[in-house]
């Protein structure tokens, strides 16, 4: 009896826990119905031939095997990893630099703080059109500016070698959300640390390197993970800038802007290959999982946490 009572009490929720579950129930229900269910269904579909219109037919590992022979699959994987490797290490210091600048107590700082966030709320289509104008190889603003200082700019949107750097530039324009996160983190760094460092004779660089950076390292780590995930899932910008109609069915010259999720979407909704698209989704999930796990492991010596590590 005593044992039973112990078991029962272990699983009984106290009032606080019940209230907690009640309050998060809208999310939990939504998650189960709209996320967990479809997620599991897509896992099943990944082993089937499924065109959405007819019942799925079990094909075992066929979809996964087909990926190994799919030239465009390897191209999209390469494009997405290349973009992620280029964008994440560029965006972090860029956004941090902006956040540091926005901390400065100068006239009109409120305007600048707003201005740097504006691209974030600019519609992606408008931004895409704008950047096509800026990056145009024929008469783009960027190349015209480079020409003033004697540099013959590349064909950003036409040359397959330069398409991904061009998209990185465009994405850097809209790092407002990261800037906001860094800005908030910077506000949280205790001022007395800086005062003590000044008393100890630390210069600006030493204060940044030994106080600011460690104190916000956990936030930087968070943004590294988020940016990695978002970069691997990039969709809207290349779709707007390099629609297939412009390059005769290709996403940019030689499919240089064909990123993983674009290809996945194309397979699902244009080529009626939902089973293959589901398999692509799960492969991307596993790739993301591996990358993020490696990042988490690698971060243990670099990220400062409350526990004093």
């Amino acid at each position: 009896m005593a044992g039973n009572r112990t078991t029962k009490s272990r699983f009984r929720l106290d009032e606080e826990a019940r209230a907690g579950f009640f309050f998060v129930s809208p999310f939990l229900l939504g998650f189960i119905v709209f996320t967990a269910g479809p997620l599991l269904a897509s896992f099943y579909f990944s082993f089937t031939r499924y065109d959405v219109l007819n019942p799925p037919v079990w094909r075992g590992l066929e979809n996964y095997r087909n990926m190994l022979q799919d030239e465009r699959f390897s191209k999209t994987l390469y494009n997405s990893l290349y973009f992620t490797l280029l964008y994440v290490p560029t965006a972090i210091p860029f956004a941090l630099g902006l956040a540091l600048l926005l901390q400065a107590r100068v006239r009109g700082v409120s305007f600048w703080r707003t201005a740097f966030y504006l691209p974030e709320i600019t519609p992606a289509v408008a931004a895409g059109v704008l950047w096509l104008r800026i990056l145009s190889a024929q008469n783009g603003l960027l190349n015209e500016a480079l020409a003033v200082i004697g540099i013959n700019g590349p064909a950003w949107t036409i040359d397959a070698q330069w398409v991904k750097p061009a998209i990185v530039m465009m994405k850097l324009w809209s790092v407002g959300w990261i800037v906001v996160i860094y800005f908030a983190a910077l506000q949280q760094v205790p001022k007395d640390l800086y005062e003590a460092a000044i008393v100890d004779g630390a210069n600006a660089w030493q204060r940044f390197w030994r106080i600011t950076l460690p104190m916000i390292s956990n936030v930087i780590f968070f943004t590294v993970i988020m940016l990695t995930i978002f970069s691997l899932n990039i969709f809207t910008e290349p779709m707007v800038m390099f629609p297939p109609q412009v390059f005769g069915g290709q996403m940019g010259p030689q499919d240089s802007a064909l990123f993983y999720v674009l290809y996945l979407f194309d397979q699902a909704f244009r080529n009626f290959r939902m089973g293959y698209a589901s398999a692509l989704a799960w492969v991307l999930f596993v790739i993301t999982l591996i990358i993020v796990t490696l990042q988490v492991r690698g971060s243990r010596r670099l990220v400062y946490t409350d526990s004093g590590q």
Binding site: G37, P38, S136, T157, I229, Q254, W282, L284, V303, D306
Partner: protein, 477 residues
Amino acid sequence: MNKVVQKQSSGSPKYSRRAILRGAMLISGAYTATWLAACQPAGQPGAATTPAGNSSAGAAPAAATVRVWGYGLDDVRAKARLATLQKSNPNITVSPVGGDLNTQQLLTAVASGDPPEVVNVDRVETGSWAGRGAIDPIDDLVSRDSFDLGQFYPILIDQVKYNGKLYGIPQFVNVDLIYMNLDVFTEVGVDPASVDPGNWDQLQQLGEQLHKMADGKVVRTGFDTKMQDNRLWLWSWANGTDLINRETNKANFTDPKVIEALTWGKATVDKQGGEQARAAFSQAQNFFSAQNPVLIGQTAMTVFEQWLIGVLKVNPKANFRAMLPRIRNTQDPLTDATGSAFAIPRGIKDAKRDAAWTFIKGTTSSDAWIAGEQATAADNKTNGQPYHPTITGNSAADQEAWTKIYQSISPGYDEAVKLFPEAVKAARYRYSGPVAAQIAEAMTAAVNDALQGAKTPEQAMTDLQQKAQQTIDEFQA
């Protein structure tokens, strides 16, 4: 971590490594897999059947709203066509969703059992939709009402058939013409009358002669074959072959005549600065305006659909000429016909199907098309613009529009309109089987790889052949 930090840790944001990892995994998983999977069919979908329903022959349908996707009612022509239908069927109202048909939307609507009553599909994709049972055959309706298919161009009716069954009624037609800006010809000293579209050597030479470069950039395209834009079909036909054997369902991309056409297309653009320079120039152009490249001489000669005259007419005095492409080394005209067709999705039955059919019949009739053209001409006149005719699927309506409603604008426009009847006679159509979309995608990728020099034409076509045949075989399996 250094000593300064370890002294004071309160006030820093709190994120444990475990929490970050958990959150990241969740977001990642949700991002990549969630939206893919919510497309399970609602009912028990199977092979397409003919939903005969129990409608009576020729009976007027009860009051109904017909939802039409991929077809807007925001222009005068469409409104007049609908008004003609509603004169005899006042009980029909239409709820349109304009713009291109959203395939994702249609897929999920059919799968969930709630599709629109009518869709306006690209005729090339008829087989893709029909082969998967997304649209239903309409032969029973045609027979029931003794509907006269003879009023439509035969080639268009062939294009909307799949496995011998009719899946749609043709709408607009687009045919390729070759446009020339005569001012550029005069400037360069070439007699436009000497241009022979069947002489590929001459076309290539003209491209080189007419193009212009400045500072290493193209500032005028000489001759744009549009090979980069799906015209491997046109040039392969012109060279005496086809890309897919329609009877055997065998891909034919490694046919020496196909490779020869692509090689010629690449050489033609290479002689004008190369594909990259052409694309850069094209990207900087403003097509739908008075700055249209053909209009202002940025393009001397190009393959383009006949509807271009609707863009050019912002300048009624535009000095241009249009010709039909020809079969190589002959005087025989040839063109590529594309366009759309109305179809009825799977799951539309009984009264809804009757209403859909009434809408399709009514808006594609000669009367409806003629009313549309007359209304467009009147509206153009009110706005001080000249009227230019289109090509519909309905031959009787076209005759009326081309010969009676159209009023001369200038010799260039008159000549172009005179080509329309010949064009629909000489037209061929692209493969519209169940894997047409996949093959088109693979083909454009391969052609562009060749044009941009990433692969030789032989390599590109060999790879494409394997991929296209595999796609066809997979579907048949």
